[in-house]
């Protein structure tokens, strides 16, 4: 697509630097939501949506965050944006600790960090014209002047592959893909350095997804943007990310370069997740060892002790319930993995693991049946 090239005249921005300086760093970030019950709405528990997440994002890179529903990836993105107040932990943007920043102070930060939401049908105000939607960030930051503001809006629309004539229309006149472009134009209005992309393409049809993914890649190259790309689609995350973090029940369980995560995953959950994705090639049928996990994700209000994945893990031993595995590099690999028994699986190991899995799951089922017979609910 050549849409974005039209404004390539825009000064060439500095190439992504990798001098070790982090644009974003979060340390032990926690976001709990209270569960209220009863007449007095007493807090009876906590949903531990994000429960001690540390990561860093370097300028110009794309960090992908993947995980299944309820793993906390969206809450993570919103807490980083301070759309949700963190329960504890630290958010450092460009060397500045913004954890305690109030609304007003955040305003300056939001010039640098923007967010694009999943649902292009819900995230654009239906009563505003496209011009007003894209100009809104400029107005809020007192950067919208007559004439100049209009020019900026038109330039932004061209940048995302829409035409300036679209400015006077309303969101309902656009398709899903075009709406997501409008959302991206709004995010770009203030020349941010970083964009949090929360499932930016999952509401779109496949042929349109590729258009938006390519647009995001072009914009990144053009403006030197840094992305935090949150998604459940493992294929899209592989395509866009330099590094990938895998989340499970509020924690990062594995983080590494794209090639480490997709080529040599070491956490049993990452392995299961990747093996579960159907591959668009019938020739692969029956040739891949598929790891089918048993059971469902436990409630984040009452996560298992120790390793949170142990209730579905075929490798789980006693230590897994007693000691939470640290997210550190393990023997056999260089990237951090939170598993006591982390290992890269070769195809031969996969068969062996399948046997281990059968035995382990049979034992789990038997234990559960016993517990059920004893009357305790599962």
């Amino acid at each position: 697509m050549s849409e974005a090239e039209t404004v390539a005249a825009e000064a060439s921005l500095p190439a992504p630097s990798s001098n070790g300086h982090d644009l974003l760093r979060i340390e032990e970030l926690v976001k709990h939501f209270p569960i209220k019950a009863g007449f007095f709405k007493r807090t009876v528990g906590q949903v531990r949506a994000v429960d001690g997440v540390s990561l860093n994002v370097k300028p110009g890179e794309t960090l992908g965050v993947v995980g299944e529903s309820g793993c906390g990836k969206t809450t993570l993105g919103r807490t980083i944006m301070k759309l949700l107040e963190p329960t504890s932990g630290k958010i450092v943007f460009d060397g500045q600790d913004i954890t305690g920043f109030k609304r007003k102070q955040m305003r300056a930060i939001r010039r640098d960090v923007q967010i694009v939401f999943q649902d292009p049908y819900a995230s654009l105000n239906p009563r505003m014209t496209v011009r007003d939607i894209v100009a809104e960030p400029l107005r809020i930051h007192d950067l919208y002047t007559r004439g100049e503001g209009n020019r900026r809006v038109e330039e932004l629309l061209r940048t995302v592959g829409l035409s300036p004539e679209h400015a006077n229309r309303f969101p309902h006149e656009f398709s899903g893909g075009q709406r997501q472009r409008i959302g991206v134009a709004r995010a770009l209005a203030l020349n941010p350095r970083m964009i949090v992309l929360d499932e930016p393409v999952s509401a779109l049809d496949v042929s349109i997804q590729a258009q938006v993914v390519n647009l995001l890649e072009e914009l990144q190259g053009q403006f030197g943007l840094t992305y935090l790309f949150i998604a459940h689609d493992l294929s899209v995350v592989r395509h866009v990310s330099d590094r990938v973090a895998v989340m499970y029940l509020g924690k990062i369980i594995e983080i590494g370069t794209r090639h480490q995560i997709y080529g040599a995953p070491m956490h049993p959950y990452t392995q299961a997740l990747l093996s579960a994705v159907p591959i668009e090639s019938p020739a692969q049928r029956g040739k891949r060892e598929r790891i089918v996990l048993e059971g469902d994700v436990p409630s984040p209000a009452n996560p298992p002790s120790g390793c949170r994945f142990r209730t579905r893990c075929w490798k789980a031993q006693e230590i897994c319930s007693e000691e939470e595995p640290a997210l550190v590099p393990r023997v056999g690999g260089e990237h951090p993995v939170a598993c006591h028994f982390a290992e890269v699986l070769s195809p031969l190991d996969l068969e062996e693991q399948a046997r281990v899995r059968q035995v382990a799951y049979a034992a789990k089922r038997a234990a559960a049946a016993e517990a059920s017979a004893a009357g305790s609910p599962t």
């Binding site: 496949v206 592989r238 019938p282």
Partner: protein, 344 residues
């Protein structure tokens, strides 16, 4: 190959709306053979669901109406069949699984009640306790743990994956000969999807039902389907066995779909999207509906003026493509290639 169990012939379905008549399905024909998995793939609005739901009488009419065509199930036309007879077929010989198991289960009845109802409705001489026993058996067969206890629970007490298992149990209750699965895994997480795919495979092996798998997910098609129908703008644009469709597609839309997807098992330098938007079904483009987005039309007049017929591709057999220039597409899509050029 055995005679088809279901033959859709020249089906056209329209919806009357304020803005005009939406031609959701136009002149669609395909066969379903006993025991096979037929994948119907397409994007939203392609007509992939409507083509099936309409012949089962599951589309509200009006606004919908079948303006032409027939759907022969074991020789009987479903389109002309009295409602009562169609109702007997549905949930009996022809069963369905839908995308969202929360909205397809009734929240005020227990899972067991709902599966038993399916059994009792279609088996007049069945007693209630026999139905209950069979229900528990069915739940066990789809991997619902502690089926004896969970049979008395309500849908909200089941997780998404467990609900979909219950739906499959219900669909399989009367040993259907046709199972229609409309986006059966779309609402589920990937590890749960994998579980459900296994359950569907096992259920099919057990009952030998022919399955119509309606989905937008090419991965699921590649994994489960024997034959594939590709739909675009209400028409069948390509049809063939699954290996042929993936290895030597002969329609620019099918090729476009394959080049536009990211893959979990390989790096692609760049995705090659299909430019533009899907067409309006009220006033579709003249000629081939795909021509405004087509990378191979090159502005040729015939693409703009003539609706291409679905004709046998050069490989022969069952492979058919509705492109005027299908022959030119030989070798255009090499599934092993990981690098695509830009599309400007």
């Amino acid at each position: 190959m055995a005679d088809p169990i279901l033959e859709i012939r020249d089906l056209t379905v329209e919806f009357g709306t304020e803005d005009g008549v939406v031609k959701a399905v136009t002149g669609v024909s395909y066969d379903l053979h006993p025991g096979e998995v037929l994948g119907i793939v397409g994007e939203s609005g392609s007509g992939k669901s409507v083509s099936m739901l309409s012949v089962l009488g599951l589309i509200p009419m009006p606004p919908g109406r079948i303006t032409s065509g027939e759907a022969l199930y074991k020789g009987r036309d479903l389109v002309k069949m009295p409602k009562k007879e169609l109702r007997e077929l549905r949930g009996g010989e022809m069963a369905m699984i839908f995308q969202d198991p929360m909205t397809s289960l009734n929240p005020v009845f227990t899972i067991g009640d709902q599966i038993s109802e399916a059994l009792l409705t279609h088996n007049d001489d069945m007693k209630e306790d026999a139905a209950r026993a069979r229900t528990i058996e069915l739940l066990e067969s789809v991997g619902v743990p502690f089926a004896e206890r969970r049979v008395d629970q309500y849908p909200h007490e089941f997780s998404g994956g467990m609900r979909q298992r219950a739906m499959i149990a219900m669909a399989m209750a009367n040993n259907p000969s046709v199972l229609i699965a409309d986006e059966p895994t779309t609402a589920l997480d990937v590890t749960i999807q994998a579980q459900i795919v296994e359950v569907i495979k096992a259920a099919q092996q057990h009952t030998q039902a022919a399955i119509i798998l309606i989905t937008h997910d090419l991965g699921l098609i590649a994994e489960l389907a024997d034959r594939v129908v590709v739909m675009y703008a209400g028409r069948v644009v390509e049809l063939g066995d699954v290996y042929t469709i993936f290895d030597s597609p002969r329609h620019p839309y099918t090729i476009g779909l394959m080049t536009s997807i990211a893959r979990v098992d390989m790096d692609k330098e760049r995705l090659v999207p299909i430019p533009g938007q899907p067409p309006s079904l009220i006033s579709p483009p003249p000629g081939c509906a795909f021509h405004p987005r087509c990378a191979h039309s090159n502005g040729r007049a015939v693409c703009r003026t003539e609706i291409p017929a679905l004709r046998t591709a050069e490989g022969g057999g069952d492979h058919r493509s509705a492109c005027h220039f299908a022959e030119e597409l030989a070798g255009v899509h090499d599934p092993v290639a990981t690098v695509g050029g830009g599309s400007s």
